[in-house]
Chain length 379, copies 4
């Protein structure tokens, strides 16, 4: 086959000849009335169907694991961070719920893309199926039934949007995976150490620095996501197929489509494993919440003062206290208790209560539980 | 505002202050408990809703016009072309049906993306809405009801897949537009001259070459599609928002999202106009069908011989005849009639009938009519 | 090795162990003081050097062939086309000169990128080479000398711009190839038939349509260029390596860099073959020049009238004549001779001369010859 | 003009008319013999020249500031981090030297791109300049001299690689900027707090959380880099201009090129300001070095043991000690002194010396100084 393709410069004719040889007298009917692209496109669709079995399974594992993390840690407080800075407390469950929620949308999107893409191709040389004469319609119908694929009203030789929908759905899986993996890498940083990807026994972290716990699985996920985005970008980048069939645009799919499926499969297997075995360290989360000695609760203090002082004035009071606490390296509480404006309105016991992260978690636990139940109830 | 933003380096605070000033005593409650991203995200969603009104309208115009072309030209024969070469005859209606079919999928995809993206954002500093205390849930509910937007279970500050779904839907519209416009440009080429985009009176084709009919509207569509793909690529390219909110990834949307909507709007207005006023030249289509003096019907001849000679032998006979016709610059028919193998099986009258393009259109007219009815019946 | 990598999840440690095993007592010094990325990066650079040998050779073949086409066809007239429309005559040599000129810039760009990228990597765990103690500088010097690679002042573990320069240089080769191949496809279209990629004997054009001459090599070039652009886009898309080394960003190169080199090599082998064997059909070029029955010379007529009538008035006169010639399907010459304004200024012999494409080629032949000589003289 | 463009759908004719009107009798010679693309391309090149003045100036500011940071902090120790984990010590000067080194390459690359791109365009309708008759060559020569632009041997209407070289050079500036800004964001994180972008007085960090120091300028840099990459990607993505001029591919530059220049200018102004005012906190760097209570020096200990124990055995000993220190939350030093294998070879004083980060900085200071001198000496 390899030699035949090299000599003929044709991607299919050598296969047709080989099949025909094996079919004896009926061999003459191999490839009867159809075009190369009918065969390769339909074959690609069947490969997609096979690949999506593994992809769906590992995506489901990831969804379920994220939902479980959301449920288990619905009330585990940790620092919420925006712009890379401590903002206000959240719970780890809320973060995991955001992952689970995005992954569920990935699954729905993939289902829709799969439905669209599982469409047969049978149009003949230029899409009219004229070579099959009056049998054309019946043959196409039977072809689709046998393969259990949808029958298109017009051939899609030059209209590849269904393939691009699949590309988008795969890229979104990668995007969700990259967001989760990047977050784990970041929260596994030496200084934060709140999460850790599972470390199997045989894994080698660093060849020279035995103290390290490198989040290499998450790094592979990130790298895979970037590669996949390049690949689906290739699919997205050539929509203007010329005339009835355009091999210059079409042939990119021969490499890009299988590569996209392989990369997604690899990414999801790793992502599912990371989410299933994720090591969560509530102690470190708590320690980091205390790192600013109370300042992470500045908004809570401001909201406590605002009904009396007004929003803007409360902001000024709290800013002043926060700066002083930083400059003098003191607990936020003690500075607040010395501040005439704050102290006038907030008794010591009220200051203490206001500075307790577990009292300022808003809808976090409720949201985490809701997302988690929605997912696990539906399964 | 401009000065305030320059000084504060903050995209929203100057607006908050200005609104508060205008609200008298209630001004203190402007921006109460929410975060900048709540406001900008919800505002962006409202802009999306407004923009999609125009986009949906012009997309519908394009769908309907393409369907009409499919119906009107269901039986207009023209050369089907693959690899840039004449293949077998099709009808222009089949080509237009392929456009209409893809545009209908664009509309369905856009509807789904719109549903997803019309979701409010209200999470406060890190998504817990803690600053609103026990009112959080009620306030968020009212906020979404008043704006008529979906209420998210968890905030999507860092999970931007709905925005990317919209980007994909817009890119697909552009892709369909680019395919159609590129085809018009190509079929309007001096040598083909089968189609022409509408030429308004005031339009200037070339400043120096008065004979030219430049398909400039289609070229603008192609250029716009490429720009749009760059823009939606930016949206797709930064999925890994860090922690609870990440301005480095988020702020790209401030430019990319409106730009994507504007480009799509511009593209669709032009595309609808091209499809509505497309000049179709059946005479030139017919002339081009005759260009090869019958050779475009080579497959038909081969299929006529194949039942007797077998597929492979028929291919050889027809190849030999085609080469001779080319070398001697003769009609394919006359060469076939001289060819002992062909002539033995096909009487002159049969050759003539076999070489008639209108007898070898397969399912073209039927498919064009089916797509067209499906679209117009549904409206 | 495969099993070792799977178990350790580490890309290099199994190799280090295997090498150490083979080195007997000295095995302990394998990988002494260096980091995995030192080894993989330097290895990649050596692979780049090897791959560029083939790439440079085929790029040179393409440059020389394009230059030869420019020289040989410096005076072969053909239709110049803009917006897909006939504009004014050019020569095929000018077109080929534009290809040669771009390919020469590709070669210069590649040389610069190669110089930059052939830089060794040896920095140890975080770039200080501290593990080598006082020998660090001497070891690094020797390492670079032995491998004949440039020695970097600071390690480039996290600064990958040289790799991206290479990516850009490869993408530009692909871009030039795609431009040339697309032009061949277009000029090989049934209606134009001015060029044809070489058709080797064993090649199969179409499995069913024996009359076709599909430009499949050029289509493979186009497809390869698009795939390559996706790959170099991946390299370009992750510049922000974190801290001292960042595997999430770096590991994309493991797949993207070899793939980019392979795709470029494949593309160039095909491109060189197409340019070396390109079939040029001056007869068809001439026939297409005559297709508009003189109107392709409208600008020449306008410029002949402009000194007397003024530019704008001349434009009006020529536009009127062109429209009339089109409407009445007549030769442009005969209409001009009937037009009072044109005929008053241009005698029949002058009209004839003005409508001769070979008299309106401007700098085409000169430019083609100049580019061609510059290239062949330098070799 | 706006109305004229809308009516004519032509980007230049209204301008030509307006200029002609203002030129009295000579007005007829406005646009004489040239094509629209000659004018727009040459105008774009002049805009590029103007924009690069600002871009070069701010790039130089960034280079010099980075070099100064390298010199000033050549010996300031901090944690080197790989995979997001503490690896071995480096100096901040080494990190800044890596920035400076990449920025210097950006400047050299930009210079080369500028040289290439500052090329005039004057080819007339299809590149032959035939409309200028025998004056063509002289006119083109004068045109280039007056504008001080290079004269191309062949027109580059359809060969846009110089523009793409500029795009690459701008994208690389953005890439360097994104790497630096991302690093500042990360090192400014609450837990690390080693760097901080300058905080001007009027800047508003957070509207609700007064304790925050949001690295918003760096975030704008990151967002701008991503937008710019999308824009230069558009330039890179359409190399296959058709025939002699192709507006569908060319017109993307009308938006993408100015946008790329504007984004680069904005990014560099911010980047220069960040580097000039960067707040470096050596105390926090030192504190973070001590965070692992000695384990960041594990490699140093291993290298100290390796000459006696062999590399592999030393790795085992150190790993065992590191795990124990972590499990028992003890200083690495005390665990090592209890470890029989380590203690046998390393006396307490040797352990102490080996665990001192300032004694394990390798070539860091030397490299930082070398890069810095190379830059400042050349200025």
């Amino acid at each position: 086959m390899r030699a035949g393709i090299a000599e003929s410069q044709h991607p299919l004719v050598p296969l047709v000849r080989a099949l025909a040889d094996r079919c004896g007298d009926d061999g003459d009917y191999v490839h009867w009335g159809v075009t190369t692209q009918d065969v390769i496109d339909t074959g690609a669709v069947l490969q997609v169907r096979a690949a999506l079995t593994a992809i769906r399974r590992d995506l489901e594992r990831a969804v379920v694991s994220a939902a479980r993390l959301a449920a288990r840690h619905a009330e585990t407080p940790m620092a919420g961070r925006t712009h890379g800075q401590h903002a206000v407390p959240i719970t780890f469950g809320l973060k995991a719920a955001s992952w689970a929620d995005e992954l569920v949308r990935c699954a729905a999107r993939l289902r829709r893309a799969e439905e669209a893409v599982l469409t047969a191709q049978l149009g003949g040389a230029a899409g009219t199926l004229a070579a099959l004469g009056t049998d054309a319609s019946a043959v196409r119908g039977a072809f689709c039934r046998i393969l259990d694929l949808a029958e298109p009203e017009v051939p899609w030789h030059a209209a590849r949007d269904r393939i691009r929908d699949l590309g988008h759905a795969l890229a979104e899986i990668a995007g969700a995976g990259e967001r989760i993996a990047s977050e784990v890498i970041r929260l596994q940083a030496t200084e934060l150490a709140e999460l850790s990807e599972p470390l199997a026994d045989g894994h080698v972290g660093s060849s020279t620095m035995p103290q390290k716990r490198n989040p290499m699985t998450c790094e592979y996920i990130v790298a895979t996501a970037r590669l996949l985005r390049g690949t689906t970008g290739v699919l997205a980048g050539a929509p203007a197929h010329l005339h009835e069939r355009d091999m210059g645009a079409w042939a990119v799919e021969w490499i890009a489509l299988p590569q996209a499926l392989i990369l997604t499969g690899g990414l999801l297997a790793k992502l599912a494993a990371v989410l299933e075995g994720l090591v969560v360290n509530p102690e470190r989360m708590r320690a980091n919440l205390d790192l600013s000695r109370g300042q992470i609760m500045a908004e809570a203090v401001m909201m406590a003062l605002a009904p009396e002082l007004g929003h803007e004035r409360a902001h000024e009071v709290v800013t002043r206290a926060a700066r002083r606490a930083t400059a003098e390296r003191r607990d936020f509480a003690s500075v607040l208790l010395e501040d005439p404006d704050a102290a006038a309105l907030l008794a010591p016991e009220r200051v203490e209560r206001t500075l307790d992260p577990s009292g300022y978690l808003g809808l976090a636990a409720e949201a985490a539980a809701a997302v988690s139940s929605r997912i696990t109830d539906g399964r």
